[in-house]
Structure formats: structure tokens, C-alpha cells
Symmetry: C2
Subunit: 323 residues, 2 copies
């Protein structure tokens, strides 16, 4: 949570002059977004978010991300809508960084999601998968299984300093994925980072989904697995099957799971745990103490991984037994 790049008043006015958004009234750097710098901007036309894309976002990916937001918005998904400049461009530059102006979404993210929030999430996730299914652009998952070996290598020398035996546990999981990772599941655009802080609610209903900067092509069920991890564990690491059941049933009310998705879910959930375990472990070992962002605890995801390893079938996530 940080403002990495300071924007001045004159340069913001010059930037906004390219848009039909009325005069600049105020702007504040906001303490959200680990990857990018975000300003909340008030103009004569309303509220907007100005995002400056920092080093972790590839410039070549920006047409995909901004195009996806426009595509989803046109299909009724409440997500930030890129504002086009008068020349038709959605991508600009400010303070030497690529930048875009998007609509501001009202809503509040829920610090302690309950079963009813998980139900709303499940339906929204399936709706997102449906809405993205005819998006023309493609983007490989840069943090998918193919990337894990490299992250494991980079963290192996110090992993055991975080928890004894962790390097070995990671290696053995990667072997299991190499042997059994499903390659032909229903797939398309996934959000890939739909944690509670990326889902806004007003009055118990979802008012918006944000932060699509990990979106990519991958298995839909893998996106579900990411959400199970992010929404259905308690602070004490206990899995909450009531929340998971709500999430999964609501998802299936919009997009039923195929038999192979059902059977792959426990392994996908182990993989989804590995992805966040590895990036958190990497950041844990490589974030200087002077950094503006504090690294998150990788052990949270080690515990989730171990839980999923103990799961025999998707029935243990609250889905009906079938097939």
C-alpha cells in the first residue's frame, strides 16, 4: 500500500486536458494497490482513479488489461471503466509512467467475509468467467505452474530459514503438479487475484470488482481455487466449509462445473496455494526493511496447501458428491 510515484498539480492538469472530464477539483494518493500507484481524482465530471503502472506490470500487457475492462464493462460487469481520451486512447503517460484514468467504483471491501459474501462472490466469479469468454485478446498466466519452478529455485536456498523443511515440501509438491496437473480443463479469462480487497460491496451486494492486473487465460476452476483460499479460511487457518459451499453452489448456479473440474479441484487448490506461497516467500526473503510495503506471511499459504493435500475430493469443499 503505497504511492510510489508523486504526481504534481501541473502535470495532472496537463494529463487531464486530453480528456472530457471537466476541470480538476482535487486528487489524493491512496494507500491501495501493492503493484501500482493510484490517485483518487475528483473532476467536474465526477470521481476517477488514476493508475500509474509501476515496474511489476509489463507495459506490453496494458492493452490486454484495459481492453478487458472495457470488454467486461460492456457486458455488464461492474469493474473500472477506462476513460478514453479525446483522441480515443485509453493509455497515457504521466510522471514518466504509463497511466490510465478509469471510473471510480463506490463500494467497500469486506474485512471479514461471511457466507453471504462468499455466495455473492461465487455468482460474480462465474459471471466474470462467462462475460470474458468472448474476449479477443490472450495473456498467458505469468504466475502459473510454468513459473513455479523458477520461483522455487530462487527461494530454495533460504526457504528453510522461514520454516524447517519448507524447501523440501515445495519440491515435493512441484513433483506432484508435474505428474498430475490438468491441462485440458474449461478455460478462458480468469481474474487470478480475486481476494476480498478486490471485491466491493454496498448493502450486502457486490458493487464492483477491481484490480485485474493478474488477469490471464487459465482454467476457470483454478480461479475458483484461488477464491476458496482467499475467502474460505478463518484467521486461525481453519477451512470454513459453509463459506466454501456457498461460494461453489452460487458459482454453479451460473456456470456448472464439468466432471473433470470437480475432480481436479483439490489439486488446483494445492496449486493455487503454491502460487501465493511462492510469491509471498520470494517477497518475504527479498523485501528490504526500508520498503514501503510490508511483505505478507508466506506460512499462511503453507497451511492452506497442507489442508488441500489432506482433501480427497471436492465433496470436502461442500460440493455435492457426484460422478
Amino acid at each position: 500500500m503505497a504511492v510510489y510515484t508523486e504526481v504534481g498539480d501541473d502535470e495532472l492538469k496537463a494529463f487531464l486536458a486530453r480528456y472530457d472530464v471537466g476541470p480538476l477539483l482535487s486528487f489524493k494518493g491512496i494507500a491501495e494497490g501493492v503493484e501500482n500507484t493510484n490517485y483518487l481524482v475528483h473532476t467536474g465530471a465526477g470521481s476517477f482513479i488514476l493508475t500509474l503502472y509501476e515496474r511489476r506490470v509489463e507495459r506490453a500487457d496494458l492493452p490486454f488489461f484495459l481492453g478487458l475492462l472495457e470488454h467486461l464493462g460492456a457486458r455488464g460487469i461492474a469493474c473500472p471503466n477506462p476513460v478514453r481520451a479525446r483522441d480515443g486512447e485509453v493509455l497515457g503517460e504521466i510522471a514518466g509512467k504509463p497511466a490510465a484514468l478509469v471510473s471510480y467504483l463506490e463500494g467497500v471491501w469486506v474485512r471479514r467475509p461471511g457466507p453471504q459474501h462468499c455466495r455473492a462472490l461465487g455468482a460474480a466469479l462465474a459471471g466474470l468467467h462467462r462475460a470474458g469468454s468472448d474476449f479477443a485478446l490472450r495473456r498467458a498466466n505469468a504466475l502459473g505452474p510454468a513459473a513455479w519452478a523458477g520461483l522455487a529455485r530462487a527461494t530454495t536456498p533460504s526457504a528453510d530459514s522461514v520454516a524447517p523443511g519448507l524447501a523440501g515440501e515445495i519440491a515435493s509438491e512441484l513433483d506432484a503438479f508435474a505428474a498430475g496437473w490438468p491441462s485440458a480443463l474449461p478455460n478462458g479469462i480468469i481474474h487470478a487475484d480475486l481476494f476480498p480487497d478486490n471485491v466491493f460491496f454496498i448493502d450486502g451486494r457486490i458493487s464492483g470488482l477491481i484490480d485485474f492486473y493478474f488477469a490471464c487465460d487459465d482454467a476457470y476452476a483454478y480461479d475458483i481455487a484461488i477464491c476458496l483460499n482467499a475467502w474460505c479460511f478463518e484467521a486461525d487457518a481453519a477451512f470454513n466449509i459453509t463459506k466454501a459451499r456457498q461460494l461453489l453452489h452460487a458459482y454453479e448456479s451460473v456456470r456448472p462445473l464439468a466432471a473433470e473440474e470437480y475432480s481436479a479441484l483439490p489439486l488446483l487448490a494445492r496449486g493455487a496455494s503454491m502460487r501465493f506461497l511462492l510469491t509471498r516467500l520470494y517477497d518475504w526473503l527479498n523485501t528490504p526493511p526500508t520498503a514501503l510495503v510490508r511483505p505478507k506471511d508466506p506460512m499462511e499459504y503453507v497451511r492452506k496447501l497442507r489442508f488441500h493435500r489432506s482433501v480427497a475430493s471436492a465433496a470436502e469443499y461442500g460440493l455435492d458428491v457426484r460422478h
Copy 2:
């Protein structure tokens, strides 16, 4: 610039339930305010700032600060207006911290103030001094001359590591203040921290003054001296007499200076330099490298202090010679 205290959705809703501001729509921690945590809050009734008072603000001072904002607002000064809860209280508590909800002021602070901004500032400062003159509460300047000896003692052992001879230079200045600091100048409520980032502009006109958490009783001319330092030096440390003349003439168009204020101005400007030199030096020497806030360079104020020591009379600030 940091969010020191995280506020959750449920606790903010409970807090706002005490106010007639409609439903919570969204809130974002904003990267402004070195002393306090600030959230920009959107509700059904509009935009507000929620301020959580952190350790550097004395709880006993809050009735003074909040009462002053109400007093100034009632006299037409554009400043944050505290929102009263239904029970009439302006001070509440959230996340274990004293907190207040104030109106949001549109406007943008000017990164590179020009002479026209200094002119607007001068008139606004004098208007502020007039508007505060009948405020009933009193607060001593906690960072006035009486506090400097203590700050000097705390920084003396390491001051020369910042600049050779700095400890001696500070001691000799304090001797000069002890011998000649004026004690009977026109005085009343001063802002005491009216830097450019605390003055909002829209279309070249001041739309608001913020951050009154150093406000206190002191000499009006000392407040002017703080502003000369904050607004009228260039990045290369050169004093810009054009800006100073605009500031001072505009001030005098609202509240003319008395003869003794005119003659005291150079010494007051040295003192105003000392105040920021000492607090910056203290922070420079005592901020851990892991802190969220980066300390500001104390040497900027050493250079300003030296400039004012070379000034023989207020005429050198652009005021007409008189008396």
C-alpha cells in the same frame, strides 16, 4: 505520508451510524498527513475526511483544534468543517484512536507556487488571523522558542554528523533569540504550519486551508515568517523577493503590520527557520530506516536561517522602508 491505523468496514459503519451522513459508499486511506491517519470517505451525503489522531497529537488539544475549525468556518474561512454527530459531539473514537469526521475540501495544492499564489496566500493568512482573533480557547505554541532548547539538547550530540559546526551554529542562534526575541507583538491564533501542501487552489483562487494541528497562540508576524520560509525560497535556496513582496503586500492589504512587527520580522524569520530546522533535525536523527515516512532534509532550513541572518531589515523582504 502514511496510513498508520487500518480501519475496517464494520467499524467505520458503526462509527458513521452516529452521524446524519447517509450510507457509507466507499473509503480510501490517503497518503497525506505526516501526523495523523486520514481516510477519504464517500457517503450518501457527499465526501468527507475521517481523521484518526495519532501519537503526535495531544488528545487534550483536540477540543481546541476542532473548536477552531468550527469558529473559522462560521467566519467564512474555507477550512475542514467538523461534522457533529447526532448527539452533538465532534470527537469520536475508531480503531482505538480519537477521530473526527470533517467536510472534504476540493482543491489542489500547488507544487511550484508563483507570485500570484503567494499573493493569494498573504491575503488568506491575514484573513485567518482576523477570523481567529475572537476565538475563546487558547493553546500555547508547543514548538515555540521555549521548546527549542530542549530540541537542541536532544540533537546536539549528533548534529555535527549532519553538517560540521551545526551544533555550535544552533547554540549561537538560541543565544541571539534569548537576548532579543520579541515578547509583546500583536498575537492571537496562528496556523503555524501553512506550507503549500496545506493550501488548496482551484482556478488560481484559494479553495481551502487545511491541517490546523499546529495552530496555537503566538505572534501573527511569526506566522508570516513561517510562510515566507515555506513559499518564497526557490529549490536552489535562493530567496524570491517578488514572491515575498506579493505575500506581504497582500497580507497588509487585510491587516497592516505594526512598526514593531516590521522591525522584528528578520529575527522572527530566523526563529521560524530554527523551529523547522530543529524538528527536521530531530526526525532526521531519530527516524528508523523502516519508517513509513521519510524525514525531510534539515539543511534546507539551515540555509534559510543563514539567509535571514544576513537580512538587515524587513525592506529586504520586499516591504516598503518605513519608520
